[in-house]
């Protein structure tokens, strides 16, 4: 088992962390443009038995 999975990450978390690090390493002129692709504003609301749970949770991608 790879180290990141042992640490409780799944491939999505792992790859998004990798992507973020890569974006940080970009040259300044393309960095701003790439930074725009890194944002996500989605809000998640879990539902139980037909009722939306009150606190919207935002599971982190990394």
């Amino acid at each position: 088992m790879s180290a990141w999975r042992a640490a409780g990450l799944n491939y999505i978390n792992y790859s998004s962390i990798a992507a973020r690090i890569l974006r940080r390493a970009l040259k300044a002129d393309v960095k701003a443009e790439a930074g725009k692709r890194d944002v996500s504003n989605l809000k998640f609301t879990p539902w139980i038995d037909g009722k939306a749970q009150k606190t919207p949770v935002a599971p982190s991608s990394g």
């Binding site: 790859s15 692709r37 504003n41 989605l42 609301t45």
Partner: protein, 295 residues
């Protein structure tokens, strides 16, 4: 918006002449108020059309780049001939819509497909993830018990891969063990047409039971697991892009129609307005003349 404009038109057509006969002055004012409001509506719909046209051209450009991502992920399931397992019937349906309305029937089509399935047999094994407030609003009353996750704040900005991967992570972390699922989205065809379609997604166990998995070389559980997680994000990204593009193009058409309808109404109302004004003037003249001749 379309419906509202339509109703207004009906109202004017029905009540216009009748009111006119009852009291000329009041209707003159009523017509001018209505005329003004329709003009405002037209302005709004026209500007919405412009905005969505700009957003559409960007969405289409993005979609061209996103298509290979989705096609690749889809081909894996097709090549491996993955079939849903019979003994584990848990299914997950993901409805890709957005928060914004006024875009024709894009959201309704998605929800209608899901509703048809949920009204059929085996509905108790199906759970839904609602992406976008619209699908939540449509499905929550009748199928609230099936919803396990709803997502909003989508549709304002173009979807990003970060959105898709957070969505995929949230679905995987929701704790619902599905064996197969479907993503319902609107596949963009051209500016004027889209097709409501679905893409399959599967769980690890289902993939391992696939008959033709052996055509892929050196696969162990962990590789498949990782690939599945990634392909869920990739598929979601692709479907979000497709849906966003269809939505914008559909909104463009809807707003174009709304502006056209409003234009027609303005023409009719202007005509009625002028005619009424003429009638009022004539009547006043008659009153003055007959008053003068009576002296």
């Amino acid at each position: 918006m379309l419906g509202r404009v339509g109703n207004l038109a009906l109202l004017v057509c029905q009540n216009g002449p009748q009111l006119q006969q009852q009291c000329g002055m009041a209707t003159l004012k009523a017509i001018s108020i209505r005329l003004k409001s329709v003009k405002n509506i037209q302005k709004i719909t026209q500007s919405m059309k412009m905005v969505s046209a700009a957003k559409y051209s960007r969405a289409e450009r993005d979609l061209k780049q996103a298509r290979p991502v989705g096609e690749g992920a889809k081909m894996f399931y097709e090549r491996a001939e993955v079939e849903p397992l019979a003994e584990k019937p848990q299914k997950l349906y993901i409805a890709i819509t957005s928060d914004r309305g006024l875009c024709g029937a894009v959201h309704t089509n998605i929800c209608r497909q899901i509703r048809t399935i949920l009204n059929g047999p085996d509905a108790e094994n199906i759970k839904i993830v609602c992406v976008g407030d619209k699908s939540k609003a449509i499905l929550q009353r009748t199928f609230g018990k099936h919803i396990i996750l709803s997502v909003n704040d989508i549709g304002r900005l173009p979807p990003t891969f970060a959105d898709a991967s957070r969505l995929a992570a949230a679905i995987l972390q929701s704790g619902y063990e599905f064996s197969s699922g479907k993503i319902f989205y609107n596949r963009f065809k051209s500016v004027v047409s889209y097709a409501t379609t679905d893409l399959p997604v599967f769980s690890l166990a289902t993939i391992q039971a696939a008959p033709k998995l052996s055509i892929y070389d050196s696969l162990d559980d962990e590789v498949i697991q990782s690939y599945l997680e990634f392909s869920l994000a990739a598929l979601l990204y692709y479907t979000l892009k497709e849906s966003a593009c269809s939505e914008q193009s559909s909104r463009m058409t809807a707003m174009d129609n709304a502006s056209k309808n409003a234009g027609e109404m303005i023409d009719k109302l202007t005509l009625t307005f002028n005619r009424t004004r003429q009638a009022v003037i004539t009547r006043e003249l008659i009153e003055i003349i007959s008053g003068a001749s009576a002296l």
